[in-house]
Symmetry: C2
Subunit: 330 residues, 2 copies
């Protein structure tokens, strides 16, 4: 009798495995064989769903309310879709302070207001003490993908495409980890932010092939998925990857690899080489992208694998993490 | 410091109150002042979200997987919308038996298949032991409302409209309560079913004004909401309300009022008087509606209140329950 393991929820290899098992019964009868982070249905409706269980619920740079909007909106933005509507399901624990709950709703509402998103429907469940750790939020975001450009997706990746990371990686998970382990790093904060305002600056550029926000599993996991799914190789350069000194310190102390740390306001973007510099300069002109960097490219070498050229001058295989990451980071 | 109470999640008075507080920050900035069970956005997209935390997860007549599809699909059906897509977010407990999880996915997939609904996107979180009681599922259902008829809603209710209940009330909650209290009632089972196939039979009839499935809070709470929101009176007849002998027994033993017991495959429908008999006979011709009954009407008397003409010949005020109902029934 196989049991669920924390690793089934951390975004790496075990997550991929359990998701394909969950999907099997639906595939018998559905014409949609892939479970995407964000689906495009009926031609012009982008839809995504995500659960948020972050602990602690308030952290430097955000809280579970802001995160529950940003996370789902970012999944839409990665398909180039403008977010328009949010549906929100709350599962709360009896005894949760009502003002605390309302403060998360205030944060969520402020993020919606920034983006002119409407909350259109919701649900509230209250469970007996001990059956929820405070509050879990599930949001479904709905929006519209651009009609005047080829859809974004892995299917468009070809050797030579340039990979750009929009900001310093790992800020969110390092912040949560620091809070969880009682480490005080004054200037460390989550990158939690809605990416649509950044995506809006670049989405008309036809050279953009594929985008993904580096949430659970981090940049490393996204790149592994791209390489495995497309059977193309990916080459990245360690020295080019933007990492703050705060995140480096947390990684040194806790033994984390920053490549696998979750971000909540950082995307990796694949761009045709002729448009790469233009995209980079547009990103850098925006507050959310000013630390953007070209970090590597798609290659015909080592097909299906990600290789990282290390600062020390070697080359390291980047594999998908198997589990054992920090739970409840998002 | 006010704390969340189980009653905030039972669908009655406290739920209404907490929902209006949750909505307040969103109303400052959103043009959608109402949080509906099912919203119609962009003119032709029906969307709803609900969390499912039922305990036990498997019960006579269904399981959490089937319920998570039926519950959300029924919210769409009540607006007359044909369900097309499901987004599903899982929050699971470390140590949950994987085959058990997959059996719920099988149930959910079977219900989707019956209705030709596609699962289009999903999310899986696994939390440490003790932070989830097994499994919570949130589903968002998306569909299309009919374009060729006036939208359904409380706004269309007028005195004289006839109220029809589609099947025996209280079957779901009585089943869950029996399981929770260890009562064995062999022929008692949940009415958990997707209502779209029944709604499809009647939706073209222009006399249909408003529909609502009698979930948390039961038939009584739905009617109280209608009366309060419209400032119309509602008159019902106790002897007309379909109740199985099994549900009556459970109510006698546990001291429940069947009017407030949750259903998961039962709707109340308000119909213009000239169409009432036709709607009733169409309902009775379908498996899910063969026990349908006319139970009362909208009236100009006792505005804002629901009165029940009792079997004993008196008249009783039906008020919204304040709390203290059974948690985790759906």
């Amino acid at each position: 009798m196989e049991k669920l393991h924390i690793g089934h929820g951390t975004g790496g290899r075990l997550t991929s495995e359990i998701i394909s098992e969950i999907l099997r019964p639906f595939q018998k009868t559905s014409s949609s064989p892939y479970l995407e982070d964000c689906a495009i249905v009926d031609g012009n409706i982008a839809v995504t769903i995500d659960g948020y269980t972050v602990s602690p619920r308030t952290f430097p740079g955000g809280d579970i309310g802001k995160l529950a909007i940003c996370g789902s909106v970012n999944d839409l933005a990665m398909r180039g879709a403008k977010p328009k509507f949010i549906a929100m399901g709350l599962i709360a624990e009896e005894g949760l302070d009502k003002n605390e709950l309302l403060s998360y709703m205030e944060s969520a509402a402020n993020t919606c207001a920034e983006l002119s998103i409407q909350l259109v429907t919701g649900d509230t469940k209250v469970l007996p003490k001990g059956q929820v750790d405070g509050l879990y939020i599930t949001t479904c975001a709905i929006g519209t993908p651009p009609l005047d450009r080829e859809p974004l997706g892995m299917v468009r990746l070809v050797p030579g495409d340039v990979l750009i990371v929009t900001t310093e990686i790992g800020q969110h998970e390092a912040t949560i980890a620091a809070a969880r382990y009682g480490l005080t790093v004054p200037s460390l904060k989550s990158d939690c932010a809605p990416l649509w305002p950044l995506v809006e600056q670049i989405i008309e550029m036809k050279g953009i092939k594929c985008m993904r926000d580096c949430t659970r599993g981090g940049l490393g996991t996204v790149l592994c998925e791209w390489a495995e799914s497309t059977s193309l190789g990916i080459d990245i350069y360690e020295e080019k990857i933007p990492i703050s000194s705060e995140v480096s310190s947390i990684c040194d102390i806790l033994g984390f690899d920053p490549l696998y740390l979750a971000c909540e306001g950082c995307a990796v973007i694949a761009v045709a080489p002729e448009d790469a510099e233009k995209v980079l300069s547009k990103l850098k002109a925006h507050e959310l992208g000013k630390k953007a960097q070209i970090i590597g490219q798609i290659t015909e070498e080592h097909k299906g694998y990600v290789g990282m050229n290390t600062k020390a001058g070697g080359k390291r295989l980047v594999d998908m993490p198997v589990g054992e990451m920090l739970p409840r980071i998002c």
